[in-house]
Symmetry: C2
Subunit: 238 residues, 2 copies
């Protein structure tokens, strides 16, 4: 959940920061799941109050599960990075020939022979710190993690989930009758999903209309499924 492509060298190719990714992650589910839950409950002939209680419980649980889950995953990545780093240092000290062969193997993938790697090997024999940095990124594909990111990521994902979830739920909070509340919730959430999909396209490179359509379709499919299942189980007459 926390993993992402980070580019330490140059970012010209890809515009999305980690924060944008976290907002997208939280809001996509926040707009969709509470919306579908409310639509599902509306099929089971419950009071508007029950939808609000269920919706608030879902939003709180979802925000905590996604936020804390993201936090622990990011902490885990940091621990993992440091234990791999210690391991690389040890291996370079104890199994230097092995590690040199690994560098040659990496470059062999790109058609380069041992002779082409020789200047690099010569340098790394004198600078183990640089060697380890190189192996972390080029052998293991691991970036230096930002220790402050775990908490920020948790708050961003959880916050985006809450903001997203309040859109479909607000109509049920304000309107006591189920039918008009459901109708207004569908309209508001449909618009919000389309805008969110369109905004997201700016970072993913997918075309605006396609992205908006995809987001609305996921929300619609989730809600329709929840509605039909709830109708079938609950035996309500919508």
């Amino acid at each position: 959940m926390s993993a992402s492509h980070r580019h330490p060298h140059k970012e010209r190719h890809f515009a999305a920061s980690d924060t944008v990714r976290d907002v997208v992650l939280g809001m996509a589910d926040g707009l969709t799941v509470p919306f579908a839950l409310a639509a599902g409950l509306s099929a089971a002939n419950v009071a508007s109050r029950v939808v609000v209680v269920a919706g608030v419980a879902e939003i709180a649980a979802g925000a905590i599960a996604m936020g804390l889950g993201g936090y622990l995953a990011a902490r885990g990545d940091i621990d993992h990075y440091h234990s791999e780093r210690s391991r690389e240092f040890r291996e370079i000290r104890e199994l230097q020939r092995e590690e040199e062969r690994e560098i040659v193997d990496i470059f062999k993938t790109y058609g380069l022979d041992r002779a082409a790697c020789e200047p690099i090997l010569t340098h790394f024999r004198k600078d183990h710190e640089a060697w380890v940095d190189f192996m972390m990124r080029f052998e293991l594909g691991l970036e230096t993690p930002d220790p402050r990111r775990a908490l920020r990521s948790a708050v961003t994902i959880g916050g985006a989930y809450i903001v997203g979830g309040l859109v479909p739920l607000a109509p049920y909070m304000l309107i006591a009758q189920m039918k008009p509340a459901l109708l207004i919730s569908i309209i508001c959430t449909g618009i919000a999903l389309a805008l969110f999909g369109a905004a997201k396209s700016h970072f993913t490179g997918v075309s605006v209309w396609r992205s908006a359509l995809q987001t609305v379709l996921i929300g619609g499919l989730a809600s329709a499924t929840a509605f039909l299942l709830a109708h079938w189980i609950g035996g309500g007459s919508p």
Copy 2:
């Protein structure tokens, strides 16, 4: 959601496959959110039937949102990879000096000078395919995506969410009285969360007990928050 660390060269350092990651992703939320939702609703004095309807609606919506969201993210990664690849080819053809400087810049980070890169540059001038492969991985940090992964990932995440969600919900399906259903749901889900956390530790490198404790704590915190909020809004007497 779909991004992950993949190591094309050697996997000895890290045991988790993409499938394991997808199962963990889906099951963590699947065990937690429907559990907390049911606990929350139990605070609002609703019938056991309403908990089942809400739970099934939530599981369906969550599985679709996470599964389809994961699918689209993976498809997006594939499109992104191919558009970046075309761009690199173009840049190497049209801005060769710029791209050579970028290689030198990458190696400069590890204390290497231009002379050390010269054999690599000489080779890449003759083999643009290898040059592009190198830039994709070492400049942009992008791995070749597996086109079959998007669908498999969606089904795995969604399926794990459903399996996880049925654990806390089953007691409400089988027992009509709310209090014993809630109690059995708490016991079953507590055990499932602990086992899940312990199993997960095998792949994350976190210690077994710490991982089990963390997972149980997230589930407990999410449920307690949902319960208290629902109690406060719903005005029920639990």
